[in-house]
């Protein structure tokens, strides 16, 4: 069945691109196929009839066989023409049909009798297979023929038939035109629909392409940065990593991605301490600090972490960025070591100079006159200045190297204050400044803390206060803030600190302005060291100050500071 249909379709197919032309040609092909088939069947019947029944006899039957053959040849020729021009084929077909009809019966029957109707066929069909208005052409041709035939047999032309022909042409024209219009509309609708679909498809494919380019770009960026990146999901499984991390961690890619964090931080790769610190940092980025440095094999890696949120604000994971810090760490170590060695080597001779000057001043080697005493004072002051600088550098180097340890032990605040007085009383008295202290009674007599570092902090703060106070005095107070905190305040009646400088006074190498360095000595490390020491003791330091009326430094410590 299917193959017959396919063959038929192939026979009926046309090469026209215009849909109207194609439809007409196809319709013509169908008609001609019908004609050819009927011609073929007719010829067959005539031959069979002639062979079996010895013929019907008569002139009519003698004409039938050539007619059938002519029809077959004619349709075949027209079919061929139809392949090149549908218009010509249709026109010739209809013309031949009309002419053939004109010989199919006697002239009077054709003009006025039973065969008159045959002319309706080309009229009706022409509007379909030629063009709508063509029905009028064939109405006219047919009218001319029957009029001619009527004249030839000397009868009056059949006027109602001619009117009928034109009426039929009108109806054919209208209906064919309506059909064509409907088909055209349908085509337009189809075209619009096609256009819409293709536009949508294009837009979709463009947005997909854009997305792919976007994703590709992000991936390219991730792949090209030198820092190693790992993204963990909320279950601490790594979901994403870049090529740099492979070199940094010295683990193959397959060992990094789609692995749990415990799998990644195997004990042979990272120390328990660093592991704990790293996990704490990843869980609460920003709590330990901006970055954290850890040892990984022979490398020092700096790690930064941030939590990743989706557009709705829910945490979907954590991104960790690793950077090779080995060289920087080495330089830092060398710097610290250098500073420590230099400071150490400087201290001993400075200490000797100081000692001899003091002995001269204290008349250990016999009495000295006033000028000599003044000179030894200058020697001592300058030596002290140098020693302070060296001490600051050394402390800073030790803090930076992480070598400075806090040792918590019981201590008595009263003893601590005595020790500070022991060092600072004379220095304050030399400037005619009052140096007083008090301990609030609700503070315990014995407390836990690093008394040595506390003393260092206090001496630093008081020494600073003395430097910047011209008259008045310095007052230390130990107090209890609340159930969980105790504090120390150091108040002076000095110059005060400008408001815009307050945020910077604890920075390394900083003094309120450059000139004060020469005037007051020190290189601006003192307060920075104090802040770092306070930080190491889990405390906080703050300053309140008013220009002209003095500054108050307040340090707060947790009261239960027994943690080692």
């Amino acid at each position: 069945m299917k193959s017959i249909r396919e063959i038929l379709d192939r026979i009926l197919a046309t090469r026209a691109t215009d849909p109207d032309d194609a439809r007409r040609r196809r319709l013509l092909n169908i008609l001609m196929l019908g004609m050819f088939t009927s011609g073929f069947v007719g010829a067959l019947v005539i031959i069979v009839d002639a062979v079996t029944l010895k013929g019907l006899g008569g002139a009519g039957s003698q004409l039938l066989l050539p007619t059938a053959v002519i029809i077959m040849i004619g349709t075949a020729v027209l079919y061929y023409i139809n392949r090149y021009s549908g218009r010509w084929a249709a026109f010739l077909f209809l013309l031949l049909l009309t002419v053939a009809f004109s010989f199919s019966d006697t002239p009077d029957q054709l003009a006025n009798g039973r065969s008159l109707f045959v002319y309706t066929f080309p009229i009706a069909i022409s509007s379909l297979i030629l063009f709508p208005i063509a029905s009028f052409i064939f109405a006219a041709i047919s009218s001319a023929i029957i009029a001619g035939l009527a004249t030839s047999v000397q009868v009056v032309p059949n006027l109602p038939a001619i009117i009928g022909f034109f009426m039929l042409a009108l109806v054919s024209w209208l209906s064919a035109r309506g059909l064509e219009q409907a088909l055209k509309d349908l085509r337009v609708i189809n075209t619009n629909l096609d256009q819409l679909v293709s536009e949508r498809t294009k837009a979709l494919s463009e947005s997909l392409t854009r997305e792919m380019i976007e994703a590709g770009r992000s991936e390219a960026i991730l792949n090209s940065i030198a820092d190693g990146v790992i993204v963990f999901d909320t279950n601490w499984k790594s979901t994403l990593a870049n090529p740099a991390i492979v070199n940094l961690l010295e683990i193959p890619f397959s060992g990094i991605v789609e692995r749990g964090i415990d799998d990644l931080l195997k004990p042979e790769r990272i120390s328990a301490k660093d592991r704990g610190m790293l996990l704490a940092m990843l869980e609460r980025p920003g709590q330990i600090g901006e970055s954290f440095k850890m040892e990984w094999g022979k490398k020092t890696l700096s790690v930064n972490a941030a939590q990743v949120y989706d557009s709705a604000g829910a945490q979907i994971g954590t991104v960790a960025v690793f950077r090779d810090f080995t060289r920087e760490a080495e330089v830092e170590r060398m710097k610290s070591t250098f500073v420590a060695v230099v400071s150490h080597e400087l201290r001993t001779p400075l200490n000797a100079i100081m000692g001899y000057a003091e002995m001269l001043k204290e008349s250990v080697y016999g009495p000295i006159n006033e000028k000599q005493s003044g000179a030894t004072d200058r020697v001592m002051a300058n030596t002290q200045h140098l020693l302070d600088l060296v001490s600051e550098l050394l402390d800073q180097a030790q803090i930076e190297a992480g070598k400075l340890k806090i040792r918590v032990a019981p201590f008595a605040p009263a003893e601590l204050i005595d020790a500070v007085h022991g060092v600072m009383d004379k220095i304050a008295a030399d400037k005619n400044l009052a140096f007083t202290s008090e301990i609030d009674p609700d503070l315990p007599e014995q407390m836990n803390g690093d008394s040595y570092r506390l003393r260092q902090i206090l001496i630093n703060l008081v020494n600073n206060a003395v430097k910047f106070t011209g008259k008045g005095g310095i007052h230390i107070r130990f107090f209890r803030r609340d159930a969980a905190h105790w504090g120390i305040s150091v108040r002076d009646t000095g110059d005060g600190i400008p408001k815009d400088e307050i945020p910077h006074i604890f920075e390394t190498f900083r003094q309120v302005d450059g000139t004060t360095t020469r005037q007051y000595g020190g290189i601006g490390l003192g307060l920075s060291i104090v802040k770092q020491l306070v930080g190491l003791m889990q405390g906080e330091i703050a300053v309140e100050s008013e220009l002209g009326s003095g500054s108050t430094f307040t340090i707060l410590f947790p009261l239960n500071n027994a943690n080692k």
Binding site: T348, N351, A352, E358, E362, L387, S391, Y452
Partner: protein
Amino acid sequence: MENNLALIIEDDVDLSNIFAEALRAAGFETEIIRDGAVAQQRLKEVAPYIVILDMHLPHVDGSVLLSQIRTDPPLQKVKVVIVTADAIMGDMYREQAELTFVKPVTFTQLRDFTERMRLQK
């Protein structure tokens, strides 16, 4: 007879002189030793009232001398003042000494402190 001996164990010539002067000014008899091994030997012979101990010494380290003083019964009552340029070292042995000075140590500091110790006995 009252024990009034101060042993100054410090390898730097100048500093050992200054420390000795300070302790003399504080009322002690002083003896300077500039070598760890010599000090180790000397501590087997005498039990001074006070030892001024530097931690960095030739041949035998200050920490060895410190543990000798803290474990040797005859030296039980010896008061130790550590003098070191290394704050970390000072931190480490702070509890085993009467006082730890991180250099610079001034003449008056040492004199006044040791004098107070001498008067307290």
